[in-house]
């Protein structure tokens, strides 16, 4: 049994890679590709008559495999299925870092899952509040209720849009410029930021269309997403490349943090760096840039 540290609610999550929890060959070492989180899937990837088998596999994988620093999240079956309660029990008992709620449409859905998670934590003697939650918004209703979902629980660390189902509801298909989901992505981002949680974009499923994939990742970054769900390890590298801060951003952040430490020690609240006015509001962003830079192997300082 591999003890896992208490999950961090806010950590680097540029890439979340989906893996079928029922396939032993896949889940045994998905972490070697260096994604930030892996998403073991009990939902769509697992056939209806193999849900039970997938849970047994998942339990032993969680208990046996050393995932190291990679976050381990499990996508459970929807609340409209007979599977989700047992899914939650196995996730909590196995010690998954987090649970992704499929087809989430309201704050009540989050609370329903939270209640079951709490009961499972009690049942299996797991520290209360350890198991994190994130929600997948897959319908117009989910998008419209994005803020209440994001703010529903202190366990919530993020929200993601699931493009396949959402586009079907909206009677559209993937478009080159992303116009099909522009509003939904935007609304979800606003809700996530307002609630202070992270926000992730949907998977890009056409593995042969690298150009389209890259365009979408660039747009994700420009819109302010924290990361993206992936279906293949070969997608990881580009996302990490795009989400890495530039040399200039790193230098700037370093200066801001350093100057802030010095100035605040001297009792100064507002100061200038390279002619720009800086105050405390700039600090979280600068610190995030440095943490990201370190994760990307671009910075080795000890300021954060």
């Amino acid at each position: 049994m591999i003890p896992r540290p208490r999950p961090e609610r806010f950590r680097l999550r540029r890439t979340m890679m989906f893996m079928n929890a029922q396939k032993p060959g896949l889940i045994k070492d998905a972490y070697i590709y260096g994604c930030d989180s892996i998403m073991l899937d009990l939902e769509d990837a697992v056939a209806e008559n193999q849900k039970d088998a997938a849970r047994f596999s998942l339990y032993h994988a969680l208990k046996t495999i050393d995932y190291g620093d990679t976050e381990v999240i499990v996508r459970i079956n929807g609340l409209d299925t007979p599977h989700w309660q047992e899914d939650i029990r196995v996730c909590v008992a196995g010690g998954a870092d987090g649970i992704r709620i499929a087809k989430c449409e309201s704050a009540q859905d989050v609370l329903t899952v939270e209640k079951a998670v709490e009961a499972a934590e009690e049942e299996f003697g797991v520290e209360k509040g350890r198991t994190l939650l994130m929600a997948a918004l897959e319908s117009p209703k989910g998008i419209l209720n994005a803020y209440e979902i994001c703010a529903a629980s202190p366990r919530m660390f993020g929200v993601a849009i699931s493009g396949g189902d959402f586009r079907k509801c909206m009677q559209t298909t993937p478009q080159r410029d992303g116009v099909d989901m522009m509003v939904a992505r935007g609304q979800m981002l606003i809700a996530a930021r307002a609630a202070g949680i992270q926000c992730f974009d949907t998977v890009f499923t056409n593995l042969d269309d690298q150009e389209g994939f890259e365009a979408e990742v660039l747009q994700n970054k420009a819109m302010g997403f924290d990361g993206k769900s992936l279906i293949n390890p070969k997608q990881i590298r580009f996302v990490h490349q795009v989400f890495a801060p530039t040399e200039k951003e790193i230098r700037q952040a370093e200066k801001i943090v350093r100057a802030y430490r010095e100035q605040s020690a001297a009792g100064v609240g507002v100061f200038t760096v390279d002619g720009k006015m800086i105050d405390i509001a700039f600090i979280p962003g600068a610190e995030r840039t440095l943490k990201l830079a370190r994760a990307c192997g671009l910075w080795e300082g000890d300021l954060v």
Binding site: D29, I32, Y33, N232, P233, K234
Partner: protein, 521 residues
């Protein structure tokens, strides 16, 4: 007696001056007495050397029981010739006690397993042994131990007379009526015929088997009429689909790609990666994919590859056509792109196995290699590689050019996943040593990179380039932590195969496996 890689070699094999493996370059500077074949004179002008059937050709060459027949493996898994010839010899002529000396044997030759079981074939000398033949030999059914040689070791043994070939059979995609052969222009094309060349020069008799007779003279010939006794035309020498695949495609497997990228990184970190460097790669997933990433580094540093050798396939031909490699010298072709390019694309040349890899001549191509990228079935903490036996102890592989290129190259990189299913590729002791650890420099796996401690210079290169690496022991422990420590294989005393080092000393032996069955205890 224990040899330099710690393998116990039974004394009965150490006769007639045969020694155990002593380490790299042990034979350097020694002299070799070359053998000379006893060949028939054809002084009187002949219109043609065509004979009706294989049986006729065998009779004409004085075939009898106890002889050694040689074959080459350019037709790969599509080959019909070995089975056809052995059938004629055994079933039509009633010959027995035959030895097959082939450059390699594979799944296409399953029927030979029957002849082994019947005791008609008593000796096998080859690089590769797989399929049913591997199983029956592992089960101890071959009368004499099989002799496994590398692609360079084979021409050495032939030229030095350790293998005397009575009749060499040349599988020729095209031939004229007197036996000038080429690997192209027919219906079962294989491109290079490099492995057949030494056979034709050193065999007492040479029989060409073709399915496409062309006008005299078939030039430029890979095997020349001056060495050929008889030509037999058959319906088909092989299945073209299995001889050369449509095109060796670069793997899309993310694991392969990740390892390939690291291989390229390692290469680019060494001082040998400079204008005019030389290179060989295998055609396995990650090895071949290394081409792709290497090209990026070449572009980035604005350098070109001087030359490439080996078994050749499409991606290398592509580099040649793009002007990114100066010359390609080719002993075998793996796909149609390579077959269609050899001797057609400027600077794409054919070479013999001896020229490629023989350690006993005056300087084979492998000796000038900067880099070789190779696969492994197993590699141990002494960097010894096994590419012959499965981790269950059964023969199912081929040293091929592995030991030759590893010994010759300045930087030999092994690329392999840490585990395959439940098999630990990186392990404590390989089942069989096919390439000694002193020839292997870097190991790239999906769980990390390790450098042979014999190469502190390369460790420094990796450190300078910021490429993380670990010890091979750490990789082994990681592998065992995933799959569990395997039980030791159980062997009988009987030796079923002798593994010759490329210089002719004995590197290892394979014994008869005692399979695990439930409820023995």
């Amino acid at each position: 007696m224990k040899n330099a890689v710690g393998r116990e070699i039974p004394d009965f094999l150490l006769k007639d001056g045969r020694e155990v493996y002593q380490g790299k370059n042990y034979m350097d500077g020694k002299y070799i007495q070359k053998a000379s074949p006893r060949t028939r004179r054809y002084e009187k002008p002949q219109e043609s050397k065509l004979v009706e059937t294989l049986a006729d050709a065998l009779r004409q060459c004085g075939a009898r029981s106890g002889m050694t027949f040689s074959f080459h493996h350019h037709l790969r898994d599509g080959d019909y010739v070995v089975n056809m010839v052995m059938k004629a010899a055994i079933e039509e002529l009633g010959l027995e006690d035959l030895t097959i000396a082939a450059s390699s044997l594979g799944n296409a030759h399953d029927p030979i397993a029957d002849y082994i079981e019947q005791g008609k074939v008593i000796g096998i000398q080859t690089s590769g042994i797989r399929g049913r033949m591997g199983e029956v030999v592992s089960a101890g059914k071959l009368k004499t131990p099989a002799i496994i040689r590398s692609h360079g070791g084979r021409p050495r043994a032939i030229e030095g007379g350790e293998v005397h070939i009575d009749i060499a059979f040349i599988a020729a995609p095209t031939s004229d009526c007197v036996g000038n052969c080429r690997g192209i222009g027919g219906k079962s094309n294989c491109g290079s015929m490099g492995y057949a060349m030494t056979d034709a020069k050193y065999a007492d008799h040479v029989v060409v088997v073709t399915d496409c007779l062309v006008d005299f003279p078939n030039m430029p010939a890979s095997v020349e009429a001056i060495d050929v006794d008889a030509v037999v035309v058959v319906d088909s020498i092989g299945n073209p689909k299995k001889i050369a695949s449509a095109a060796a495609r670069i793997s899309q497997n993310p694991r392969d790609l990740m390892m390939a990228e690291n291989v390229a990184k390692v290469i680019a970190s060494t001082p040998y990666f400079k204008e005019g460097f030389s290179f060989q790669t295998g055609v396995g997933g990650p090895s071949l994919a290394a081409n792709l990433f290497l090209e990026k580094y070449m572009d980035e540093r604005n350098i070109k590859m001087g030359w490439a050798i080996g078994g050749i396939c499409g991606p290398m031909v592509e580099l040649l056509k793009k002007g990114k490699v100066g010359k390609v010298i080719d002993v075998q072709d793996f796909d149609l792109d390579a077959v269609n390019s050899i001797n057609q694309t400027p600077n794409h040349f054919e070479m013999s196995a001896s020229q490629y890899a023989n350690p006993a001549n005056k300087g084979a191509f492998v000796n000038k290699l900067d880099f070789v990228v190779l696969a492994a079935l197993e590699i141990d903490t002494g960097f010894n590689v096994n590419v012959l036996t499965g981790s269950d102890g059964v023969l199912r592989g081929a040293p091929g050019g592995h030991p030759d290129t590893a010994a010759g190259a300045k930087c030999c990189i092994i690329v392999t996943p840490l585990i395959r299913g439940r098999m630990a590729t990186v392990c404590e002791h390989v089942v069989t040593v096919t390439t000694p650890g002193d020839c292997v420099d870097v190991l790239v796996t999906d769980y990390g990179i390790a450098v042979n401690p014999l190469r502190p210079d390369l460790i420094e290169c990796l450190d300078k380039a910021g490429i993380p690496h670990v010890t091979v022991e750490e990789l082994k422990e990681k592998a065992y932590s995933l799959v569990g420590r395997p039980d030791d294989l159980q062997w009988e005393d009987e030796v079923v195969a002798v593994l010759e080092a490329r210089d002719g000393t004995i590197l290892d032996v394979v014994r008869k496996i005692r399979p695990y069955t439930l409820y023995r205890d």
